[in-house]
Symmetry: C2
Subunit: 445 residues, 2 copies
């Protein structure tokens, strides 16, 4: 199991508001929805991820005796609040889009229905979990689209933002279509195949590069991938050819070489020629180093002879867009729809549903953002996943989410599968929802 | 205590290399250094952070029986490797710059000296811990410099990259000079003052905004900060004035109002006038919403009447530069200096020290990057912190690191304290180090 964080991992205002609600006896049912307000610049779609960890959080969130005692000794909270958190469990209902579903701005991917103190108190960690995996899965989906047919491996743990980021990003990348991760714990926790070979230090620790290659091959005969850019890439490729002959006598095959610096396309071309001339046509070329979807697309356009990629920092930090403009907003309280109108941050009120239509070729053609009780053609994307704090069905497996993501990427309109910004996907706001927003605006006008 | 992650949280290549080293009996002493190769665009300096968590990791890293069993059942590893990790403890020496020290490119902030299997096996998590806090502290230092005399509070937990990122970023921000965090667990774990008031949902859940304010004030009479931008900011400011009179009868004071949307400078000016006319000269204005150092500098230039800021997403994700080009590189093995020469990634070989000189006004004037045994004028920034896997001195407290950071920011040359890119700080590479690099290049030439 992954480390569980204390329920104190939240914003202080959750407790100050809770005290307000309890003081007034405000415990009627609230509806909150999580959605993204705007696509990051240059992006065409998002991929929902993180639901599994969000539901695990909701199933288990509780304050220990020590945590309640700590809250008490801060002297900030009423006995009513302390009593409330001591007995706190998430008891609400959740509807959500399945992990791996493509979605667009203003479309809720998760809805919580619960007494307002309950639904509010889980906000911070829910956002923290849904935001990050959705961020990385959405970026990883672009990398997958840019490199069809290539082995993609997440190499980003070291520069991910902490341990949990490294682990959950490995999951989000795999969900989006990656083949694996360098992260060993991600294999243990999530069954994600782990990949890894050697660092430059391994070569440097040896007096001789060829000797380093030979030693590595003999120590790992089933996984011989040799890093050849420590000193001179092409010179190292020749050493690999020479070594291959000797290794063949022991029945050891050099699976691939790895490039990690310089102009990867140029080096790959030269190295491929050297390996081919040396009879190593089956030896692949794996590349890493400052890669992202744009670099992969450039290499694909060159028909570069690289068979796989390690994609690290830029992917795991989603460096071109390191956050999503997402929110978890109150849409209804005590049966009455609510609408926030803060400048630039107005929301669509009420409990909503997203209806998606597909063309004859199976591709998505348009969504309707509507009220939950509306009936529209298309597939209703938000489905019940939790009632009264209990899951309705066993958790979807990561393999299922990954299969769904692959199907979703295949169903995307062609323009949206490109890396460049495309004409926006058709998202219609149902008349019923527009009418409701207008009515609420008039009430507060 | 923070959740501890499994020692399996590492890159697979650490194990494949380890198998190589053990197979060859290569266990001589290696020297690795952690440094940053390039400053992010527009940045003038970096602030070292994360050493405390790095040392805690080194003191405690170990593989449990279950973890070793899991490695065994993957079928990938030799009995020699499994036996090695079962008994693994970090037994090396560490020298480091104190947390809160300003540093520049190519200057090591941490050096590990240990048998190569030991020093290599800890690489991934060491980088993961040092990189992230240094990233955020370096960004937070700019925010601090841009808003002198203002209360700064980290609001970023929800969009931080996972739980650990939220916690460690709160620490890094406080170290760099922030006044506190919204993160309650950061108060419990690190003693960082937590701040928080209300969300828009609190206002929206009430039928009437003024009633929401009154209820909040009565539930939290010692911490009355009212969020006034849910519907109409200036209209809400008038409600605050009216409410203040009634609250005064109960001895309750409105500490501040909070703005979270629109043109913060413009709203603050108008709200300040409304509050002042209403006799609320002591009521502060706190602002949040898409803030970063540039926006704070803009507001400061306008002499905006905002007394404090909640800075969130852009800070905790370091959104303009979400990663540092950092490395943990082998600099010496078995007593012989090593140099990586990969294109664009060449490193300075050997065990190094950074000597820093100060001018008559106490400001930093220049650094010398030298070999450890060199003698140069100035303060030697790398100091022994661990020997044989044991700390030499008790951990520096977070308060000490914060005080050092404040002193360091005050010692920065004026140009480097500005947000714009300044002429680079003077960093001289000692002749001894240049000679060593040349000698090694000739050996591999």
């Amino acid at each position: 199991m992954l480390p569980r964080y204390s329920a104190l991992l939240t914003d202080l205002y959750q407790f100050t508001m809770l005290q307000g609600y309890l003081e007034q006896g405000m415990e009627e049912v609230a509806v909150y929805e999580f959605f993204v307000r705007k696509l990051p610049p240059g992006r065409n779609f998002l991929l929902a991820a993180g639901l599994e960890q969000a539901l695990q959080f909701l199933e288990t969130v509780a304050f220990s005796t020590e945590e309640v005692a700590w809250l008490e000794q801060t002297g900030r909270f009423s006995p009513k609040l302390l009593d409330y958190v001591a007995n706190f469990r998430f008891s609400g209902d959740v509807d959500a889009m399945a992990e791996g579903t493509v979605f667009f701005t203003d479309e809720p991917i998760l809805r919580v229905v619960a007494p307002i103190p309950v639904a509010q108190l889980v906000e911070t960690r829910l956002i923290n979990l849904l935001h990050f995996q959705t961020l990385v899965a959405s970026k990883a989906a672009r990398v997958v689209l840019a490199a069809p047919g290539k082995l993609l491996v997440d190499f980003g743990l070291r520069r991910a933002h902490g341990a949990e980021a490294g682990l959950l990003a490995a999951r989000a990348c795999y969900l989006a279509g990656f083949g694996g991760s360098s992260n060993v714990l991600a294999e243990r926790e999530f069954g994600i195949p782990s990949y890894g070979t050697m660092a430059h230090s391994f070569v440097q620790a040896h007096a001789d590069e060829a000797q380093a290659f030979a030693n590595f091959a003999h120590a790992q005969p089933g996984n011989v991938v040799l890093l050849i850019d420590t000193y001179d890439t092409e010179a190292a490729a020749h050493k690999v050819v020479a070594l291959a002959l000797r290794l063949a006598q022991d029945g050891i095959r050099i699976k691939a070489v790895r490039l990690d610096s310089g102009d990867l396309g140029e080096h790959a071309r030269k190295v491929r020629a050297i390996l081919d001339r040396g009879g190593l046509r089956e030896t692949g070329i794996f590349a890493s180093g400052n890669l992202d979807e744009f670099e992969l697309a450039r290499l694909a356009a060159q028909q570069s002879p690289i068979s796989g990629f390690g994609v690290g920092t830029r992917l795991l930090t989603s460096s071109d867009a390191p956050y999503l403009d997402c929110a978890y907003k109150l849409q209804e309280y005590a049966g009455r729809p609510r609408r926030k109108r803060s400048e630039g941050k107005a929301t669509w009120p009420g409990r909503k549903q997203v209806f998606r239509s597909y063309g004859p070729d199976g591709r998505m053609v348009g969504d309707i953002l509507a009220l939950e009780q509306d009936r529209h053609p298309g597939e209703a994307l938000l489905k019940p996943v939790m009632r009264g704090g209990k899951r309705l069905t066993p958790a979807a497996s990561l393999a299922e989410a990954r299969a769904l993501a692959a199907a979703e990427l295949a169903r995307l309109p062609e323009g949206l599968r490109q890396l460049d910004k495309a004409a926006p996907y058709s998202m219609e706001v149902a008349q019923s929802l527009q009418d409701l927003a207008r009515t609420l605006d008039r009430q507060h006008g």
